[in-house]
Amino acid sequence: MTKGMIIQAQPGGLMEVAMLDDFFTRALLAGIGVAAVAGPLGCFIVWRRMAYFGDTMAHSALLGVAVSLLLSLNLTAGVFAVAALVSAALIILQRRRALSSDSLLGILSHSTLALGLVMVAAMSWVRIDLMGLLFGDILAVSKLDLAMVYGGGVLVLAALIYLWRPLLAGTVSEEVAEAEGLSPRVSQFAFMLLMAAVIAIAMRIVGVLLITSLLIIPAATARRFAATPEQMAVMAAFVGILAAVGGLFGSLNYDTPSGPSIVVAALVIFLISMAPLRNRALKGGQKP
């Protein structure tokens, strides 16, 4: 819809280029915004060993899409709500201790994904780009999405900064944080809501199946260069931005799906980051 307006505004010959520029610029901006938020948040997922948890929440996003289509809700709101519900369900089930977290995550992760896929397929009256949902679609990024990425992103980052101390203290030791008057449980729950928010806004760009990698790979890359948690968070944001930009250009050039392209770019940066460290280790090893 917005594309139409822009085509009219441009003089004839430049029409296609301008249109391309516009959706690609939007995709780039969205990718940068998502990566800047996913990096710092992803650090906590790495530190707390919550990778599988992140995956589960991300997979539940498809169920969120199906539910919001069924009830004609806003897609982002629906995805956020379902992801938050799934994480709450997980916390409650974990307290019962009937099954290990591992098994619970496995059950929730794949059943929400399957449920979402079945529901989406069953709703024959809605046309839906399943591939776009699963792997991300740069073409799908509207101006509203962009506003959502930046508006939501700023809120998430602000909340993360506010929660930083109790969250980090709770990551190092829940006991210490609790005894010294912080409330690690409250901040942990808030953190899960932030994750649900990031999944809701990142889904369009990287797709449901690959969101977790955008959280984890930049953080893992930053680990090798950071001396403090704060450094790691900032570096993870920049690594993520680099991956988003590189991946989206790759996606444009080779006509590959945007999500996997960004993840491949992140992987390449991760692999490159390992090389100098290995050299350094070798040099260190040569010394007596």
Partner: protein, 290 residues
């Protein structure tokens, strides 16, 4: 120290406090008071309710019976049993010191120095040995200028000499900072010597009082059996000298002689403690440089 602390208002007091979980009492009927400058030790077998009692004192657990009252705006410094910090988390010692609250740089430095680990300020926590890490954790807790220092088995994974040094250090810090100390321990020997009041738990308070009284009590002996007698012996000889494996005697000032001196305090505790602390400060620093 003790006389002054008897008159001061208590930091924490529990009266008849108990916690009920999953159909049973984890601990009940606990009476405990910790005043500024006082070292209170909870001892007892595993599952006797030591940690539960400590968690009531810190306010993490609400008692299901009895009451717990904390002095208003009580600052607690907590030294956990152990910390498993994931290697993916880059954490320098100086950053760990600021974990739960903003801490000025001088405070970080003096606290690390007080624990004898000033040289580790820029090290990564993953590179520390067990003993170094325990000292850093202690430094972290005191850097928060706590009114009450709570230590949950602070000598796990520390060798025997480290254990002695650790308890001496806790005594020194108590003297310097003037905070109350709540120690949790299941090992009897060293901790008995370094404490003002011992509370012996086994689901309830078996006995409590000065370490001498507790060590001599019937309940204590029946709870710990042969180990109890050992602890009594150790307690009597601990304060200012250590018997080395070869039979010689190491004194608090570091000198080594063939036998105990007649003036070595086996019984006169008031005198011994002063003696002990000055010597321990030297030893703690020495250990830090090693």
């Amino acid at each position: 120290m003790l006389d002054a602390s008897r008159t001061a208002a208590p930091l924490v007091s529990l009266s008849g406090a108990g916690v009920f979980r999953n159909g049973r009492w984890l601990v009940r009927g606990v009476d405990m008071t910790i005043r500024p400058g006082e070292i209170v030790t909870l001892i007892g077998p595993n599952g006797s309710g030591k940690s539960t009692t400590a968690r009531m004192a810190t306010g993490i657990l609400k008692p299901d019976e009895g009451s717990v009252s904390q002095r208003a705006a009580l600052r607690i410094g907590y030294v956990p049993q152990r910390l498993a910090i994931d290697r993916s988390l880059p954490l320098s010692v100086s950053r760990l010191m600021r974990l739960t609250g903003p801490t000025p740089h001088e405070k970080i430095h003096t606290s690390l120095a007080a624990a004898g680990v000033a040289h580790l300020e820029n090290a990564q926590v993953h590179d520390l040995s067990g003993g170094e890490f325990q000292r850093v954790l202690l430094a972290r807790a005191i850097a928060q200028e706590p009114d009450l220092l709570v230590l949950d088995e602070p000598v796990q994974g520390v060798d025997f000499n480290g254990e002695v040094a650790m308890y001496e250090l806790i005594g020194i810090i108590r003297d310097r900072v003037g905070c109350g100390v709540l120690l949790i321990s299941h090992d009897l020997h060293v901790v008995m010597a370094a404490t003002d009041t011992v509370i012996c738990l086994n689901g309830h308070v078996c006995c409590s009082g000065s370490p001498e009284n507790v060590a001599a009590s019937e309940e204590y002996r029946s709870l710990f059996g042969a180990r109890a007698a050992e602890a009594v012996a150790f307690y009597r000889h601990q304060h200012d000298h250590t018997h080395l494996p070869d039979g010689r005697v190491k004194h608090a000032d570091g000198s080594i002689t063939e036998h105990c001196h007649p003036e070595d305090g086996h019984h006169d505790h008031g005198h011994d403690q002063g003696h002990d602390h000055s010597g321990a400060a030297g030893r703690a620093n020495g250990g830090g440089h090693a």
